[in-house]
């Protein structure tokens, strides 16, 4: 007697979900739209959260002048700046500003927040890009390898290594990398994004982007490019290895999961070789959950970037945000938070598109 309702044996394997009911097909664009619109509540909540959190931590005037001025003088300045008004008044004022896309000027340095973002954003972006590169180049092949050799010594070694990468605090790793590769071996510069001469050359560009790699290319001077790239190596490795550890784990788990699916067995029964099974059949479906998680990793990566940026003199958003928090520069903090929220939301958005590209079930 046959049964229809055999429980899907690979229901837990993400790639082998049952196809969605037909009624949901064709709405991918709409899904993306909704996903995109979700950016706004996210930003709104973050801004609100940060607004009230920051106000409870004191004001920029005390931060800057607390060591110089007496209480009356401080109170006077605070009143002049309007910080003594009810919080909600200030809050709605700020929201109003935001609605007109006016991010304001930083309180401590009087620079337009947009300019601050344009200065420090590219640095963080470059750092995250390079470390993702490292993470991909190291994490994914090793993940495949460990999946292939699962429960063999190779597997154990790389997994422990991956956990180790995760367990080493990034600033500690950075310190050690610097000592070995900069001070001792002198292979790479100690810190910073470029040396003085390279930076000066890039400064002369009329249309500089802030992305040093691009700027270096525009100078047309290979030395500048080499200089910029050599500066990126250690930070990218420090942050990249951490991420690579996470990727390795992810790839391994998911590839092992897909290796256990029927379609891998089916391909094997067609005479497909083991390596090809790994590379084609197991890897690609496994990539879908991996890509999704990578999207979620972006926020984590930005966190890691804070420490990497401090350790390696890499003047990016995370680093500058810590400074702004310390100096209670509300406006700057809020502006950067908006940008971070947008980045995370856009990343997830892009990740969905990439996932759809990999997974035809979503695409159609």
């Amino acid at each position: 007697m046959s049964t229809v309702q055999i429980a899907d044996p690979s229901a837990s394997a993400p790639a082998a979900r049952r196809p969605k009911p037909k009624s949901q097909g064709g709405g991918f664009g709409r899904y993306l739209l909704v996903r995109f619109l979700l950016i706004f509540p996210t930003i709104f909540i973050l801004v609100t959260l940060v607004f009230f959190l920051m106000r409870t931590t004191g004001d920029p005037i005390t931060a800057a002048q607390g060591g110089r001025l007496g209480p009356e003088a401080l109170a006077e300045l605070r009143a002049a700046a309007g910080y003594d008004r009810p919080l909600f008044v200030q809050y709605f004022e700020y929201l109003g500003q935001l609605l007109t896309l006016n991010f304001g000027e930083t309180l401590t340095t009087n620079r337009p927040v947009v300019e601050v973002l344009a200065t420090y954003g590219p640095a963080t972006f470059e750092l995250v890009f390079y470390s993702l590169l490292v993470a991909f180049v190291i994490g994914i092949p090793l993940g495949l390898l460990t999946a292939y050799y699962r429960d063999k010594p190779q597997d154990a070694v790389f997994r422990v290594l991956a956990i180790y990468w995760y367990a080493v605090p990034i600033f500690f790793a950075g310190l050690i990398l610097k000592l070995i590769f900069s001070v001792w071996l002198k292979w790479f510069p100690v810190a910073g994004r470029a040396s003085v001469s390279a930076e000066l050359q890039m400064q002369t560009l009329s249309n500089k982007t802030g992305f040093y790699t691009i700027d270096a290319l525009m100078t047309g001077n290979p030395e500048v490019l080499g200089d910029v790239l050599s500066h990126a190596v250690l930070p990218a490795i420090a942050l990249g290895l951490l991420t690579a550890g996470i990727f390795l784990r992810l790839v391994r788990t998911n590839v092992i999961g897909t290796l256990a699916t029927d379609y891998v067995d089916a391909a094997r029964s067609r005479g497909v070789g083991e390596l090809r099974l790994l590379r084609k059949h197991a890897y690609r479906p496994a990539l879908i959950p991996i890509v999704t998680v990578i999207g979620l990793q972006i926020a984590l990566l930005l966190s890691g970037a804070v420490l990497t940026e401090t350790t390696f003199e890499w003047k990016g958003l995370g680093f500058i945000l810590v400074e702004f928090i310390e100096s209670r520069d509300y406006v700057a903090v809020q502006g950067i938070v908006v940008l971070l929220a947008v980045i995370v939301a856009i990343t997830n958005f892009v990740v969905d598109i990439i996932a759809a590209f990999i997974d035809p079930r979503v695409r159609y």
Partner: protein
């Protein structure tokens, strides 16, 4: 005729820390060219393991004894699979032997086009240009009956229906023209109507391509339909092997006899239903129905503002006290949806549904809750309908605690024990956790729980679909007995006409969310009026090779007529 595969004294053990565990014990079988060998046997008897051995697909933990000698299609070469190197194995897989899997949706890689997957097998064996491979893939898809193969070759698996997917899987198996196809429950996941088509296709494989087939199945109807020879496995051994006709006509081994006896036949229930109808008291037909649906409509809301999906539309049905209504229909036709709506689990979105006098359309949970004690529900999957963290006794006691004011499971124990015995479970089973029971035992416990409050109405959603034939037979029997004893009305949902026929007073046939036919078993099964019911009936392979051959003809006529 020469032998394609010759299995000699095969023994398969799985190596574990605790020593070897034997799955297949001294099995000898052989399949000839162009022959269909069916392997039947109860679950866990080693069918799949045997089949996988033929392809050398066993996991590394397996150790094999004996020999599996496979010859290629031309009969020019022979290989003992068991002694073959990995590389050699890879070469003969696909060319000498291919496999068709049970669940077509999981046997296809979702992220590659079906064409790509068919071509992959071709390219794995020898050099063939892309264009050639593609041409071959298209041709093979056409041969297995996929319309517009030129276009469909670039489609992804999810764009095919279940039956089409299985065709693609078969195409993949056929494309290298292997001498042998191993099909492990190739139709289990499919509706009967689709199953009939796939069986047809497999038959054509044998007839047109001369391919030998090892067919593994639980379904004696399928065996009767397709097999030339049958091997019956029991606890890792082949206990009986015979030609299909002689096996059905004169089973020798006790297990075979029991197995055949447990298989339900359509038509067996008619007499019983008549008996029951006759025994009904006067004026029974005038009693207020327990369930009354008028133009019932159930729409599942769409996500992200998409239009919803109407799973059930315009259904009228009635269940009177003490009556068993059987609800059949293919997968996705809305059976479960109706059952859940009656139990108040799914919102009714249109029409009217009266359950125990309450109008379900727009009812609030709070108002319905008191009525729940009068309704019992038996879930399809007995394993997951129990909280894994509670003992059976606690689970069965739950309705008592909720409704009869019993304080806790301990104080309800006496009643629980009674109930367990009523469903023929020893009292001691009450102290076990659900996972410590077998499927059949769990299903009985599930019945016990549903009956705890002696409900007037029982909804059973495919309560036996997860069970083995023999276990199913026992549970069905028990159900019938209990129904006689307690006299509850029931909605019995199943996709299996034969099962429904056994129990139901009346049968309702659902098709695409609509009720296409309703009547007594004799009416619906004896003289179906709706073309869908007709097709359904004709598609159902009867577990009798002679009768099935005749029905096959009938079905072919019916299809041609459409």
């Amino acid at each position: 005729m020469s032998t394609v595969v010759d299995i000699k004294n095969l023994g398969v053990s799985f190596a574990t820390d605790a020593g070897a565990v034997k799955a297949v014990d001294d099995v000898s079988l052989s399949v000839d060219r162009g022959e269909v060998l069916a392997i039947v046997g109860e679950s866990g008897s080693g069918k799949t393991v045997t089949a996988k051995t033929i392809l050398g697909l066993l996991p590394e933990t397996a150790t094999t004894r004996g020999a599996v000698v496979l010859s290629n299609r031309e009969g020019t070469g022979e290989h003992n699979i068991i002694a073959l190197s990995k590389q050699k194995l890879r070469e003969i897989r696909g060319t000498d032997v291919a496999m068709v899997f049970q669940e077509p949706s999981t046997a296809l890689n979702p992220v590659y086009t079906v064409g790509w997957q068919i071509m992959e097998g071709l390219r794995a064996h020898g050099t063939i240009s892309k264009a050639e491979a593609r041409a071959k893939a298209i041709e093979m898809m056409r041969k297995v009956g996929i319309p517009d193969p030129e276009e469909r070759v670039d489609h992804y698996p999810h764009q095919f229906s279940g039956g089409q997917k299985q065709r693609v899987v078969i195409a993949m198996a056929l494309v290298l023209d292997p001498g042998l196809i191993v099909a492990d429950e190739p139709t289990t996941a499919l509706d009967v109507t689709v199953q009939a088509e796939i069986l047809d296709l497999l038959r054509r494989c044998r007839d047109e391509f001369g391919t030998a087939i090892v067919l593994i199945t639980h379904n004696m109807g399928v065996v009767a339909d397709l097999a030339d020879r049958v091997a019956v496995m029991y606890q890792g051994k082949v206990v009986e092997e015979a030609g299909v006709q002689s096996l059905f006509a004169a089973p020798k081994h006790d297990y075979t006899k029991a197995l055949l006896a447990a298989v339900p036949y359509v038509g067996h229930g008619v007499a019983r239903a008549l008996e029951r109808a006759a025994a009904r008291p006067e004026g029974w037909g005038q009693q207020t129905p327990l369930v009354e649906a008028r133009g019932l409509e159930i729409t599942y809301p769409g996500r992200f503002g998409r239009t919803g999906f109407t799973a059930v539309g315009g259904v009228d049905l009635v269940i009177r006290p003490g009556e068993v209504l059987g609800l059949v229909g293919e997968s996705g036709s809305g059976k479960t949806t109706i059952g859940r709506a009656i139990a108040g689990l799914t919102k009714v979105t249109g029409g009217s549904l009266k359950v125990l006098g309450a109008e379900m359309n727009g009812i609030r949970e709070r108002d319905f809750r008191p009525l729940r004690s009068r309704i019992g529900f038996v879930f399809q999957d007995p394993a997951s309908s129990f909280n894994p963290l509670l003992t059976i006794a606690e689970c069965v006691a739950e309705p008592l605690i909720i409704h009869s004011g019993v304080k806790d499971a301990a104080s309800a124990r006496a009643k629980v024990d009674e109930l367990l015995e009523a469903v023929q479970l020893p009292r001691s089973y009450g102290d076990r956790y659900p996972h410590e029971l077998s499927g059949g035992q769990r299903q009985r416990a599930s019945l016990a729980r549903a009956l705890a409050l002696e409900p007037e109405l029982l909804i059973a959603d495919e309560p036996t679909s997860a069970l083995d034939v023999s276990v199913q037979a026992r549970v069905l029997e028990l159900f019938a007995e209990l129904q006689r004893e307690f006299g509850f009305a029931a909605l019995f949902i199943s996709h299996d006409l034969a099962v429904v026929d056994l129990l139901a007073d009346r049968i309702a046939v659902l098709y695409h969310g609509r009720l296409v036919e309703e009547g007594t078993g004799a009416e619906v099964l004896g003289a179906p009026k709706d073309p869908y019911t007709q097709r359904l009936l004709a598609s159902l392979p009867v577990p009798d090779p002679v009768a099935q051959a005749a029905r096959r003809e009938e079905l072919r006529r019916l299809r041609e007529a459409v």
